[in-house]
């Protein structure tokens, strides 16, 4: 006898997850066929928001590539929707006419965007936000049209609005209610959210009922019931979703708002089941993945003949995937009858919380601004904790500082990943038994983190916690003192607010209490970047070159390389250099690789005096920092030059000199594609072209030659300068200490770095962050020594007896 035939209609998140659960339980039981309407294999629909917000690419959100279907012997009827279900003959027909028989059938057809039934709804430029195709169209149209209207200010609408803003559009959200996300938030929280989104640049029209979309072929404007009009050439409908139930209805299944199922996910016909957003259980239809995955587990148990208590419904919680707007909502969030609320607002941090209480139990939670305590409250809600012993003040008081907020102190039964219902215990166990060392590995083995992704930081923390105690050495440690990776260390610096390297070594249990020559400069750098204002740079953790502001040579003497911005010098400077070289018997004077003049073989104790006599500033030729900018002569003298390369080079150097970076950061500006200064092997290379500047990044001419990649072409010098600053800050924030830009870009992915830098908002934010971080710090170190600030000259003393 052949295997039983299992047929899944709907190649989406809930259906495919159910299949995965079945395979885990009994991979051999069924011959599986999946009918999918979309032209993609299963993907993480949630991440469409991130695709639109330029944080991910379409490729990155595909969760089950074709290979997965092949490997598991699953037949995929691809891009061919089911059009007829015959429950008597147990067969399904697809649009192309294929007829597939089943022994068991799962319907998981999900939902579609609800398009308001108003005049003009079928015009070009009116879209829903549900599929990859929708998203790709939105991105495409954002390139050609300027004004977007998003109808509906719920979760989906706001994520769409933010995404379109990130795509460069002018975005207005139109909302019917008085405040945003009214099903998840109460009025104060909704208003805070609106303020924050307004700050990011989104506009709002509240309490507007859309009556008509105007336009001939393409939409031109939105009309409202009060007679007002909003001009728009792209309209996103996000007023809600509707379960896809047509097929089931026609087959005679019991369908109300959704396909009605019992606790075992069985629909009203024999051997037909439904899961996901199309299913209605106990009068409820869910629109978030966590309950759908729970349904999938139950159905997998049923279909593999395991004992199960059945599905009992779920409490859901919501957050929003828009950075800068942290919110959390769960349970019943409106006061009524016996449900009373207690609330707190912190005007300094603009954060708000309200708890809804009934019979001494928390039944609803709204947090805005600071969501660090969502777990604490959610646990109380889920476990129906009796809170009569807590007065409102202690209840609302922040648990911060108390150990309970750290994942290390959570119970094993506490949920880390809400979407997938994965507990701390499960993750810790997987880390131990399967020797996992990264978040990605944990996600692969436990599914935690594979949906909305918000739990990833907690998983990271948990990893640090578990691996930090481990005696055997994980391969990720930044040096022999620790098994922690750079990311884990930086995460902890942030999370625990570690402000000195001493604290870092202590809190993270470094094997050497004072670190070693590898981690000391690295930690000092990470602290400088993380807490630019609070962290006092630690001179004793700087490598000698940066401590003494000269390159140490193999005989212990130093080099002196004065700054000549853009490689430009003057006769006066040359005279001074000559005089100094003669007076101090400098053994070697040489033109350097980056268009400077170097004096080599200078004794340490002579350095301050030489700097004094040169009266020039340091070119930072010894530092992990922004180096000097190489330029060609450019348009002012060269007959090929199209741009003022020297001028731009000098501006770049002036703007960013003396900024520390993970490794040296070299720049070059050429005035034409002949690229005389080899812009193609610079960390940041500029090539002037007829109508602007090409920008290349990530080129290294050092030990490992690496060609730079074209980032973009811009029209003005100012754009070049701003992009450079954004890149510097992104490199500073995400680079491993001593990692050049080429491996950095390889590690992060060029497309990713590009998407960050070319996103106007992120780019602007990075530049602002850089300026704030380095304010007051970009001083010439030689001048500081000459002025003997902080008794610096003592460092150059050599006693002689």
């Amino acid at each position: 006898m052949g295997r039983e035939k299992l047929l899944l209609i709907g190649n989406g998140m809930a259906g495919v997850r159910t299949i995965e659960e079945i395979l885990e339980r009994d991979a051999a039981k069924y011959e599986i066929t999946i009918i999918g309407e979309e032209r993609y294999t299963n993907y993480n629909r949630i991440m469409l928001s991130n695709v639109l917000q330029k944080k991910m690419t379409v490729d990155e959100i595909i969760t089950n590539p074709m290979q997965w279907y092949n490997d598991n012997g699953i037949k995929l009827v691809h891009h061919d929707p089911a059009v007829k279900l015959d429950t008597d003959r147990k067969q399904v027909t697809t649009a192309s006419g294929a007829c597939i028989e089943y022994d068991k059938c799962i319907i998981a057809t999900g939902s579609r965007s609800f398009i308001l039934p108003v005049e003009g709804a079928q015009l070009e430029g009116v879209l829903g936000f549900r599929t990859i195709d929708d998203t790709v169209q939105m991105i495409e149209q954002a390139k050609h049209y300027k004004r977007a209207a998003v109808i509906g200010g719920g979760l989906l609408g706001l994520e769409a609005a933010k995404g379109l803003l990130d795509q460069g559009m002018d975005v207005t959200v139109v909302h019917l209610e008085k405040w945003l996300m009214e099903t998840q938030l109460n009025e104060p929280a909704g208003n805070l959210l609106k303020q924050d989104l307004e700050k990011q640049g989104i506009k709002f029209l509240m309490e507007k009922r859309t009556t008509r979309l105007r336009g001939t072929t393409r939409v031109e404007a939105v009309e409202f019931s009060d007679g007002s009009v909003l001009e728009a050439d792209l309209v996103i409908m996000s007023v809600g979703i509707r379960p896809v139930t047509g097929l089931a209805k026609e087959a005679g299944l019991k369908v109300e708002r959704g396909i009605v199922v019992d606790d075992f996910m069985a629909a009203s016909a024999r051997d037909v089941y439904a899961v996901g957003e199309c299913a209605q259980h106990n009068n409820t239809i869910y629109g978030l993945v966590a309950p759908l995955y729970e349904q999938g587990k139950v159905l997998a148990d049923v279909l593999t003949d395991r004992p199960t208590e059945g599905y009992k419904g779920s409490t859901v919680s919501t957050s929003l995937k828009v950075s800068g707007c942290d919110l959390f909502s769960a349970g019943i969030i409106h006061e009524r009858d016996a449900i009373k609320g207690i609330e707190a607002f912190n005007g300094l941090t603009n954060s708000y919380k309200k708890l809804f209480i009934q019979n001494n139990q928390i039944v609803g939670i709204v947090l805005y601004g600071d969501t660090s305590e969502e777990n604490r409250y959610y646990k109380m809600l889920r476990d129906k904790l009796d809170i009569s012993a807590l007065n409102p003040v202690t209840l609302l008081a922040s648990a911060a500082g108390e150990a309970s907020s750290s994942v290390a102190d959570w119970d094993d039964a506490d949920t880390v990943c809400g979407c997938n219902g994965v507990t701390k215990g499960t993750i810790v166990n997987a880390i131990h038994t399967q020797q996992l060392t990264s978040v990605a590995e944990v996600t692969r083995c436990t599914k935690a983190g594979n949906s909305c992704g918000k739990c990833k930081s907690t998983i990271g923390e948990l990893l640090t916690h578990v691996l930090g105690d481990k005696v055997t050495k994980a391969p990720t440690g930044i040096c022999g003192c620790t098994d922690l990776s750079r990311d884990e260390i930086v995460l902890q610096i942030h999370e625990q607010g570690l402000k000195t390297s001493k604290e870092v070594f202590q809190a993270l249990n470094f094997r050497n209490a004072e670190g070693c020559s590898k981690c000391r400069p690295a930690i000092n750098f990470y602290l400088n970047v993380t807490f630019p204002q609070e962290h006092q740079d630690e001179k004793e953790s700087r490598f000698v070159n940066e401590r003494m502001h000269g390159n140490i040579q193999k005989d212990g003497r130093f080099s002196v390389i004065p700054r000549m911005r853009g490689g430009q010098t003057t006769p006066q400077q040359l005279l001074k250099i000559a005089q100094v070289a003669e007076k101090y018997n400098v053994p070697l004077v040489k033109v350097t690789g980056s268009q400077r003049i170097g004096l080599y073989g200078v004794k340490k104790e002579d350095l301050p005096q030489i700097w004094e006599e040169l009266d020039m500033t340091s070119a930072s030729a010894y530092a992990k920092a922004v180096r000097s900018v190489k330029t060609c002569v450019g348009a002012s003298f060269c007959r090929f030059g199209t741009q003022d390369s020297m001028g731009l080079g000098i501006k770049l150097e002036e703007r960013y000199e003396y900024i520390d970076t993970p490794h040296k950061f070299k720049m070059g500006v050429s005035a034409c594609p002949r690229s005389c200064v080899e812009s193609g092997v610079k960390d940041f290379g500029v090539i002037g072209v007829e109508n602007g500047f090409q920008i290349y990044i990530g080129g290294n001419g050092g030990t490992e030659v690496k060609e730079a990649q074209l980032l973009t072409t811009v029209a003005t010098e100012q754009e070049v300068i701003d992009l450079c600053g954004a890149m510097l800050q992104y490199y500073r924030k995400t680079g491993n200490y001593a990692e050049r830009t080429a491996p950095w870009i390889e590690r992060l992915g060029f497309e990713h770095v590009k998407s960050v830098l070319l996103d106007p908002e992120q780019s602007k934010a990075l530049l602002a962050e850089l300026d704030e971080a380095v304010a007051g710090k970009r001083n010439d170190p030689w001048t500081e020594v000459r002025n003997n600030e902080n008794r610096e000259q003592e460092l150059y003393t050599v006693g002689r007896v």
């Binding site: 050497n512 209490a513 004072e514 670190g515 070693c516 020559s517 590898k518 000391r520 400069p521 001179k539 004793e540 953790s541 490598f543 000698v544 401590r547 003494m548 140490i552 193999k554 005989d555 212990g556 340490k604 008794r791 003592e794 460092l795 003393t797 050599v798 006693g799 002689r800 007896v801």
Partner: protein, 105 residues
Amino acid sequence: MTQVKQKVFVANFEELRPRIGREIMVDGSKIAVFRLLDDRVKAIGGVCPHKQGPLAEGIVSGEYVYCPLHEYKVSLLDGKVQEPDDGCVATYETAIEDGKVYVLV
């Protein structure tokens, strides 16, 4: 046979910064003097046995200094180069009197 040791002035204690070395030349040979984080003062031969790196310029961690040229780790207590490298440098007694630091050579 007793050898009389010479007491050589290095610096005022206050001038020495924790974990930043100070070099002195005594009769043409280099000595590296360090003030540790716990304010003990240690002195060793100032030249790394590997490739003559200036040990006074190294990063100091606990009771060790890392040579700035190739990161040999040298003990400030007994002058021994740590595994996996080997070699050693001289060590010198130090003294602090009236806030002045001396080495005995």
